[in-house]
Structure formats: C-alpha cells, structure tokens
C-alpha cells in the first residue's frame, strides 16, 4: 500500500482530517504523512485497526526553532528623476514548532515503515499533542522521553512524568537552544 493510498484512506475515513504528504529528499525515499493534531488520535486508530499497522516501532521528537528567511526583492523607484532598480532584503520570521515522528510497521502483513508526524503550535505555550499510547503501548516510554527531553505534552498519556532527567529538573535538554547550567549549579540542582 503506497503512502498516497493511505492518505486517501485517512481523508475518507476520518472526516475533516488534514493529511499532508511530506517529501523526503534523501536517497532513503522515506516520505511521511503530516497529520493535524486535532484528528491525530482518530487517524492513528484507523491506521492501527484498518491498515493493520500494529507495531509502532519508534517515537521521537524533533525541535525546529524559529528561523529567519531572507528574500531579496527588486523594486523600481524614482531616484533624482531617474528610474533605478533598488534591491531590498525582506526578512520573514518563520515561527518554530516541535514535531513528533512515529515509525509504524505491520508485524502481520510485513508493511512499513509508514512515517507519521504531528506538529505543535509553537515551542512555548502551545505544545500539546494527542498521545498515541492508548493505541500502541510501545509509545509509553518513548512519549515520556519526548516530554522529558523536548517538552511535548501528550494529552491522554497514562503516566506522563520525566523519565531520564530527575523530577525537579525544569528545562528540556534536547532542544536546540538549550544551554547547560554551569557545573556547580548542576550540582546544586541535583541536591534539591
């Protein structure tokens, strides 16, 4: 089953679900489906039950910080009574987000990998995504890890706690803009 077919199955099976095909430029050719987070749980249930992707192998998060895109635009202006082309640089800010990636396989039909991803609204206060642990138990520890190291909040996760860092820790160390505290500060944090 191709990714296009899965996409149309999702669109017909889950009303209102937006599915976008994300093309992968590398020779691996593993393209992925970007699901909108409001319908993520329903779409994943369909993938598990109807397409029999019963094995969720890998769950991970990726941090995409805010970026600036610079475009050069040429406009014609009158300068000293003469028409001249002047180059402007326009900077557009692309807001960052956190992305969660699931690699799905089928143990019964030997399908896969089918890669699905979901994105948060931003990196600070809108970081909630639906948890897929109710469908695939294998996501339990891996979603906890994504919460611990990236700060993605999974709604519906049965036991969302820090898994590798200690409980009193407040930052998210796998984010690209994370700055580790100085050693003595770390020592103090640990003792708390």
């Amino acid at each position: 089953m191709t990714l296009e077919e899965i996409r149309s199955r999702l669109q017909s099976g889950v009303p209102g679900c937006q599915v976008e095909l994300v093309v992968n430029g590398s020779p691996s050719g593993q393209n992925s489906l970007l699901l909108d987070r409001d319908h993520g749980l329903a779409a994943a249930t369909l993938l598990c039950d109807q397409i029999q992707l019963d094995f969720c192998s890998n769950v991970t998060a990726v941090d995409w910080p805010d970026r600036e895109k610079t475009d050069k635009v040429k406009t014609k202006q009158m300068v000293d009574g003469e028409e001249k082309e002047i180059e402007h640089t326009i900077k557009t800010r692309i807001p960052g987000f956190l992305e969660v990636v699931y690699h799905l396989f089928s143990m019964t039909k030997h399908l896969g990998p089918v890669v699905i991803r979901m994105r948060t609204g931003n990196r600070s206060d809108d970081v909630t995504l639906p948890s897929l642990t109710p469908i695939w138990r294998s996501a339990e520890f891996q979603e906890r890890e994504a919460f611990d190291l990236y700060g993605v909040v999974f709604e519906g996760h049965p036991d969302l706690r820090r898994i590798l860092m200690w409980d009193g820790f407040t930052d998210y160390p796998m984010r690209k803009d994370y700055v580790p505290p100085p050693d003595d500060e770390l020592e103090r944090l640990r003792e708390q």
Binding site: S26, S28, F55, S57, L149, P173
Partner: protein, 370 residues
C-alpha cells in the same frame, strides 16, 4: 522500604542491586511476596547520547554507538552505519557485507551465551553456568580484538564498509570457533535445559501474551518466545541475509523458559549462518570508494534504518540539514522498549521471580538510559 498498610509494603529494588544488570531501580509494591505494582525508574546512566552525537560529525558518532549496548558494539555500529548509508545513498562491497554478517552473528553468540549465564546467576546458580558462558565469550572477544584492536569497544564498521580487512588466519580461527561452539552448546544444554530447578523457576513464570507483545513493541527473542514470527533478518533482509539458510525459532508459551530456549536455539541458527558466510565470503574491496568518511554532508532529508540486534530491533533515525553533523540523531533502544511490559509480566508473581523475569528480558543499561 515502607509499610503502606497491613501486609502491603513498598520496596525499592536497586539501583545498586546485582540482579538489576546495572544501575536500574524498580519501585515495587508487595502484598506478602506477591507483586501488586511495579514501576521501573531510569536515568542513572543518562548522558544524553543523542545530544553528543548531534554535536559530532557523522564519523565521530560511530565510537559513541559502541557504548550504547556495550556487550554488542558490532551490531550497534551496523545499525548506525546502515542508517547513514540509507541517508547518503552509499553502497557496501560484498566482502564487507559478509564480514558484517560474521561479526554480527559472533556478537549474537557471545551476547546470548552471556545472557543465559546471567539468567542462571539470577536464579541462584552461582558461578558455574556464567563461567561456562564466559569461556566462550572470551574466545569471541579474542577474535574481535585481533580484528579491530578492541575487545568490547570495537568501533569497527564505517558507512560504506568496514574499517580493516580480515586476514585468512582470522577466518580460519573463526571457523575453528564455530566448529567447536556446537559442542559447547550441547554441554550447556545438558547442564541446563532439562534441569528440574530451572524448569520449576521458569515455566509458567512471566508469561507475555502474543497480542500484548506486539502492541507493546517488544522485539527480538522476547517477541518470538510469544510466538510471533518477526525477525528482521528475514523481514527486512538487510545486508546479505537473504543468501543464508536459517530458521527462526518460535516459542509457544511466552514464559521465561521459552525466552531461555529462544536464546539457545538462536545460537544454533547463528552457527549455521556463520558456517555459510565463512564458506562463501568473496574477496575484493571492503570500502565503497565513493564513501567520504571525513566531512560527510548528506543531502537534506531523513532516514530510519533498523537491524535485528541480539536484544531486539535496534533502530537509528537521522535527519540531515546538509551540515557535517546530524540535525537529529535518534536511537530506538530495544532494551528500553522491551521493559514496557515488565510490570505486566511481574504482576501477581513472587518478588523472587521479578529478578528472573528481568533477567529474561536481557537489558543493558547503557542502552536503556543512553
């Protein structure tokens, strides 16, 4: 140890406990000796391996992968190099593929032998089985040392091939080991498989149902002990595994005994693969001439590659942004994900069986905590 109510007690097993295979803790709630709840606690060995690899070049991450599952550095290397090869579109010469199969199956032999030894150690059979296993493991490590210069941290594979070629003498020494290993297995099984104490401690203990095993993403011998025919050497046929004749052993009951038997039977299948690989290994180059080790900059994109490591499905997920170091580097650790079902297997069992069940999962903390 806290007394929660009458007859109900909470104890913390580990992190400094010989049966936890490293620094691992379980918060266990007990009623008498029966387990009511069990929560694993991780992170004592956490060093953020993924962050380290993201700040290093593609080549520099290879020695770090040795330290994930430090008993199986060869298969860790293979998983990572396979992911880079997919990401950058590199081919591997035939001879290198065969050498990879040989060292990976040798890794499986020494891992499984050691695992059985430790499992018996956990049951109270102090010394003898573990020392038997370690005499064989020692011979495999000697081969690794001769080939790569290191016994455990081999750092042997490279994307596009392997680091150094193996000599004819090395192949002959490996063939001698493979020839003698069957006799060791017979002896080992004679000592263990029919043993009454082993059967009493393992049969019907820690049963993992088939559906739960699939849903919880259990992989490797633990999955096959529950009767699911899923071996990546057969399913994905990575490397040159499609050229070898071997069978995938399957269990029926999914208990600790089946998980023990899987290891023994898989060692016998590995010997078959090794015999064929040693017979058929071709000559030629060991590195793809197009592979650029230093300063590799794959095109923008991502790749997920997985192999059947001795512990289960070892996956690597890489995202490249065109720079010399990976934008995202992720390890899918089989040891951590196989622990998802630890509580399910232990509920209702005795506290002494928890040690045996944990031993039958076969974890290495270097990979669980990363």
């Amino acid at each position: 140890m806290t007394q929660v109510a009458e007859d109900i007690m909470e104890i913390s097993m580990g992190p400094q406990h010989p049966s936890t295979h490293g620094v691992f803790r379980m918060d266990v709630r007990l009623e008498g000796e029966r387990v009511l709840r069990l929560k694993p606690v991780f992170g004592y060995l956490h060093r953020n391996h993924e962050k380290i690899a993201e700040s290093a070049s593609y080549l520099a991450a290879i020695p770090y992968t040795d330290r994930l599952d430090y008993l199986c550095s060869m298969t860790n290397n293979w998983g990572y190099t396979l992911a880079v090869e997919k990401l950058a579109g590199l081919a591997v010469p035939e001879r290198a593929e065969y050498i990879r199969v040989i060292v990976a199956e040798l890794t499986r032999l020494q891992n499984h032998a050691g695992m059985v030894g430790f499992l018996l150690q956990d049951m109270g059979a102090s010394g003898t089985p573990l020392m038997y296993a370690f005499t064989q493991r020692e011979k495999v490590l000697d081969l690794f040392e001769e080939l790569s210069g290191a016994r455990m941290m081999c750092n042997y594979m490279r994307f596009g091939g392997v680091r150094v070629d193996c000599s004819q003498q090395w192949l002959e020494a490996t063939a001698r080991l493979v020839g003698a290993f069957g006799g060791f297995l017979d002896e080992f099984e004679q000592l263990l498989t029919g043993n009454e104490i082993l059967m009493a401690r393992t049969q019907g203990v820690g049963v993992l149902p088939r559906e739960l095993a699939i849903n919880a993403g259990v992989t490797g011998p633990g999955l096959r002990a529950s009767g699911v025919n899923y071996d990546l050497r057969k399913v994905d046929r990575y490397g040159v595994y499609e050229r070898f004749q071997f069978r995938v052993p399957l269990g029926e009951h999914g208990d600790v005994f089946d998980r023990y038997m899987m290891r023994v039977l898989e060692m016998r299948e590995s010997l078959k693969i090794l015999e064929q690989a040693l017979r058929d290994i071709p000559g030629g180059a060991i590195m793809d001439p197009k592979a650029k080790l230093r300063g590799l900059r794959p095109k923008v994109g991502e790749a997920y590659a997985r192999i059947e490591s001795p512990k289960g499905e070892l996956g690597f997920y890489l995202i490249s942004d065109g720079s010399p170091n990976p934008y995202r580097y992720r390890v899918r650790p089989p040891s951590l994900i196989n622990l998802t079902v630890l509580e399910d297997m232990c509920l209702g069992q005795n506290i002494a069986d928890v040690v045996v069940i944990l031993g039958s999962i076969d974890i290495v903390m270097g990979e669980v905590d990363r």
